[in-house]
Amino acid sequence: MIIIATVTVFFMLGAALSVFFFKDLMNAVVASSLVSLTATVLFYLLQAPDVAMAEAAIGVALVTGIFVVAIRRTERYEK
């Protein structure tokens, strides 16, 4: 379990760093939803399935959707 958790944490850190470097904001949004997805896995591994479900529904689906809508209203590429 500790190995899966370590791999997940490094994956999460990589996704969080890649958000910073993407110039295409749509890619950045997908990477930030990956951060939430790995957080879901971590919550599940820490035996908090209730929190994992809330994170999966809100962090992965709804926040990503709202960011996508916001990008559609504004600009897609960072200057």
Partner: protein
Amino acid sequence: MKELLSLRGLIALFLLVVIGVGIFSAVGKIPFGQPDSEVGSAYLEDGRQETGAANTVTSVVVGYRALDTLGEVAVLFIAATGLSTILATSKKRIDRKLEDASLVLKTGCRVFFPMILLFGAYLFIHGHLTPGGGFQGGAVIGSAFLLTYLGCSGRRVSRTASRSLESLSGFGFVFLGLIGLMVGESYFLSNFLPKGELYSLLSAGIFPLIYILIGLKVGAEFAGVIDSMIEESR
């Protein structure tokens, strides 16, 4: 311009360091995985007997801390109302031509929409037995509506239906609490119904009722928020 940007970057970095040090000094000294408070272990030991809910998280959220849950629901209600008010009053409307969704997304939203709704309903009806509950179920239902708005464009949630469902379930939550104040152990949101048998669907008194109301309310709120984000501000 560049100087300003770097100044902004420096300020952001400084704030991040301050936040990091603050969080670390607050929670860094707590040993990992060891309960530090007696309240938590009391809930874990006596929660099932006292409330009749198999899921201890539920017994905390709608039992011991039901008033906090009412506050959370109120915060969500205020946020949703404020968002729809701001978006409805803004005059600037840009009519943009939307790309048609792909065949995969269209078919997927038709196939998965009822399944996701059913899963959300399962989450909040079984909130006192299995992991999940009103907020999670409501958020899952909201994500089902998000899929519909992305895939099957043209279909909309009825504004009056979502508003009235939201208000009625919020009213029902407070009303249940008031009944508990009158009949049960005479405090707000007391569990006045029989506890029933542990692990059966009709157990834990008013917990399933409250979670069904919260699930409907949160689902209707998220659907309304998505509707006002996508349609009103188009």
